[in-house]
Symmetry: C2
């Protein structure tokens, strides 16, 4: 196995890293602003890759992309911050240009893979990873394999319907987990109630973020505490469903909102127990915090390339 | 590979079949009443097995059991119709007695496996099987492997929470799919409204079953049609969730209530579309009816034994 080039297509930054055959410390990492609304995003990406492309042989490229993709065909269906990339055949374009095998998956699946191989999930065979930030995503490792489904579209954990008549999700449909427990949803819940006249320390703010709500809750603000209790309740219901569906041995929480800690996790645990058909699902179940931080996408792409190369050899 | 003994522990009947090394036509099938509330269920089962045990070598036994089990430890956690079998180590008991490798799984997972290997799911690698009868259960084949999770408790599809404030489920928790769309739930929905004074042809019946409701709906009864529309709506919401979670290439419906056809499936399809984050999940998706009927448990056990023996060899 020779070098691996990992690419993370972020909303604000494009990142490329060159990894050695073993280990997780990159030989080179470079980044550039995504500027997704401007034309030429692929050309910017290609220039970035060119600038780090090593003299030694490269055995594979792997790409982490946000938003829905079709890994089986190597196509980004859409990605939130680059409006031009609709049904975008990124794998074919990269293979034509760099002449090495290239694979793609969404960043949440790859973060799951990265946490399993290099982070909090090491040593487990059944891992559920849930990232709660602006949106909610996730991935599942089952018996040592990433669960992809027929077309790589499995484990869209943020789009579980938790409250059929609930708020509208970023995807346009109603009542999904992401529409109730994401950072965006937490900020919206508090903002709507402030605008409706609820007394809260948050009403002094021009713009309310999930972080503001967390800080206010920790300082004793009633509305802010109610907001996290509401999000945590539906998160717990969803996690119970995930245990029923996937029966993981460890659940790993990533994303900025997870750092709110017990504000979110205390009501989550209570709701989990309320919805689980049997407490057997909790026996031996580990709950952990993600370890890879910002590098989850790149390290997940590295893991994907390593797995694909091993399967092919 | 030599002969395989398959066992189906049903609520009313214990069934044992001896299968040849290839093919799905049993050499022998025998059954006896379960009489689960009487003592000695294991002894009755063992006598039944003894009575069909062949002179030729047997390579494996596989057992299909209703209710929660722990296949990784070979234990039936509980089974609805045999109250004595709590944490019942059936695999160890059978291995001690018959001296052949023995495997266990729940009947819904095994029906999924059977439909995949021998029924409506043949040729697919990503199969979701959902059985709707007295209860709701199911199983998932993902990339050609049965999804089991860490302890064999994955894919409890009937215990997805579809309506947090909904009716209480057979498991004791509120709002699960089984509590709203099973045959039991359909009958209860109609019965409660008849008792509350709703005008319906069903009010003439001393006892209302899901089949009665289907017949009344087909004859134009308004309450009966509303009942199926309600169940179908939540079923469609759940199927959308299953597509988001597992991304199957085919969904197979089994169980008596599935035979209500469009009464259930028309509202189901409408609700599916209403909850799916993208119609991509429906592209190329097949919907099919189960083919194995009453033999699903035995044939699923046969499939399990074949797979385990292949893995071991």
């Amino acid at each position: 196995m020779s070098l691996i080039v990992a690419i993370d297509i972020g909303g604000t930054q494009l990142r490329v890293a060159v990894y050695p055959p073993t280990g997780t410390t990159p030989l080179t990492v470079k980044r550039t602003a995504t500027r997704g609304v401007e034309a030429g995003a692929f050309e910017r990406l290609a220039s970035l890759i060119d600038s780090v492309w090593p003299d030694e042989p490269v055995s594979a490229i792997a790409v982490a992309s946000p938003g829905p993709s079709d890994p089986s065909r190597g196509i980004i269906l859409s990605t939130p911050n680059i409006p031009d990339w609709v049904n975008f055949p990124i794998v074919e374009l990269l293979e034509n240009r760099y002449k090495v095998p290239t694979w793609l998956d969404n960043d949440a699946n790859l973060a799951a893979l990265g946490e399993w191989r290099f982070g909090a999930g090491q040593g487990y065979q059944d891992v559920l990873y849930l990232t709660i930030s602006t949106g909610i995503g996730g991935g599942v490792i089952s018996e040592g394999r990433m669960l992809t489904g027929a077309r790589g579209m499995a484990t869209e954990l943020g789009h579980l319907t938790v409250f059929p008549d609930g708020p509208v999700c970023s995807c346009g449909k109603r009542g999904h987990l992401e529409a109730i427990a994401s950072g965006t949803a937490i900020a919206r819940y508090a903002r709507e109630r402030v605008l409706a006249g609820r007394t809260s320390s948050l009403s002094a703010l021009a713009k309310i973020t999930a972080r503001d709500v967390a800080e206010a809750a920790n300082a004793g603000d009633g509305l802010a505490q109610e907001t996290f209790a509401y999000a945590g309740k539906f998160l717990g219901q969803a996690v119970a469903d995930f245990l029923h569906m996937f029966n993981p041995a460890i659940v790993i929480f990533g994303g900025g909102v997870s750092q709110s800690g017990e504000l979110l996790f205390a009501p989550m645990r209570a709701a989990m127990r309320e919805h689980l058909m049997t407490p057997s699902y909790l026996e031996g179940l580990q709950m952990a915090t993600a370890q890879l931080g910002d590098d989850a996408g790149l390290l997940g792409a590295l893991a994907l390339a390593q797995i694909k190369l091993t399967q092919a050899s």
